[in-house]
């Protein structure tokens, strides 16, 4: 502990989350939100990495979505992903394949992009609980899996809105599942290292 956290120890954990919104973010929160949104945007420019024997190129997009939730928690994580989606929708080329603008809402992958926001929200909400529990690692991994599930449900719904049948949509979506599980393992490993390097990151600092 290199910074004093007055009152942090005896604050009931459940009270911290709802109070956060009304109290507003300080400059540090805004900076973290902005920079994680930039991380999402930059991860699009990184070509996929071929992983191990699978030879499946893995893009970092969904990894960063889970990371936003795992590292920033519910409200800041959701805000970071929403900011990324919003700027992509108004026309910055920051969606996969350097796509941009409202076009992605019309394209079949719209479900995933909207799902990112809800996925990050779910990961963030569960991660906040997980870091305080006894089974921290399992809890964080569970949070990442739950968020991934939410993204896939939105993705499948997106395919169906565009006119694909349920079965075809699920089969198309299944192709992404193995890669996503690998990414969730890595996201949790990164989050654990980050929590160790910056202990006050997820636990809210109070002045």
């Amino acid at each position: 502990m290199n910074e004093p956290h007055p009152g942090n120890g005896n604050r009931p954990p459940a009270a911290a989350a709802p109070a956060r919104r009304r109290r507003g973010w300080n400059a540090m929160d805004l900076s973290l939100i902005a920079v994680f949104a930039a991380l999402m945007a930059a991860s699009v420019a990184i070509p996929g990495i071929n992983v191990g024997a699978l030879g499946v190129p893995i893009t970092l997009q969904t990894l960063v979505v889970s990371l936003c939730g795992l590292v920033l928690g519910f409200s800041r994580g959701t805000a970071a992903v929403s900011l990324y989606v919003l700027l992509g929708l108004i026309g910055l080329p920051i969606f996969s394949g350097f796509r941009a603008g409202p076009a992605v809402l019309a394209s079949p992958s719209a479900g995933y992009i909207i799902g990112f926001i809800f996925g990050a929200a779910v990961v963030g909400a569960l991660a906040t609980l997980a870091v305080r529990s006894r089974w921290r690692v399992a809890g964080l991994f569970g949070a990442a899996l739950a968020g991934g599930l939410v993204i896939h449900v939105f993705g499948i719904a997106g395919f169906m809105v565009r006119g694909m049948g349920l079965q075809v949509a699920v089969l198309t979506d299944l192709a992404y599942i193995p890669g996503d599980i690998i990414k969730n393992v890595i996201a949790v490993a990164i989050a654990l290292s980050l929590h160790r390097a910056f202990p006050d990151l997820l636990v809210r600092r109070r002045k």
Partner: protein, 222 residues
Amino acid sequence: MRGHAFMVAGYIPGDSFFHRMRLGLKAAALFAVAVLCLASPFVSVAAGLWTTTAVLAAVVGAHFAAGLPWGRLWRAVKLMLIFLVLIAAYQWWQHGPAVAWQVIAAIIATVLASNILTATTPVDELLDGLASLVRPLERIGADPERFSLTVALMLRSIPFVIGAFADVRDAARARGLERNLMARSLPVVIATVAYARSTGEALAARGLGEPAARPSERTPAD
């Protein structure tokens, strides 16, 4: 793709009718295209077919009227090709060729229409448009100034993060860890968080980005 070149990748300079059109009008036109394409399930198949085909033809015409290249049109379709084929096959099987064409044409028309908007509007103008959308929300408690600050912070952070990815990739390659996802991403994220924190401290030191304390919310400790 390093630096700010990345941010203007979508814009194609020109002096066409669409380049000179006001952003609000362009957005309204895009909205009209989307409504026309989405409305087709609510009218008869024949009417929907003709509307969507006409809209698609108009949008393709507009694409060339705006002086945009062929490649741009093809690239937008190419990225969704697999999904379009799957959707077309399913719709053909379930509802016949007319509906399949109508669904595909609607997707392509909306995507191309919003491509025209993105390609004929500079990024600054889009960001200004976003800011003016946020301004009316001030009454319900939003803080447009802090929002714009966050957007600006994000934009200036992108080159930093891309640079960090490039540096870390070189380092991982030198150690023979090019295919190790952990070695490729953990240092980037640590550098990114450290960058965010120093930026946050710098902002706080200058009193920027702090929530405007309303008298009722101010605690005695402040």
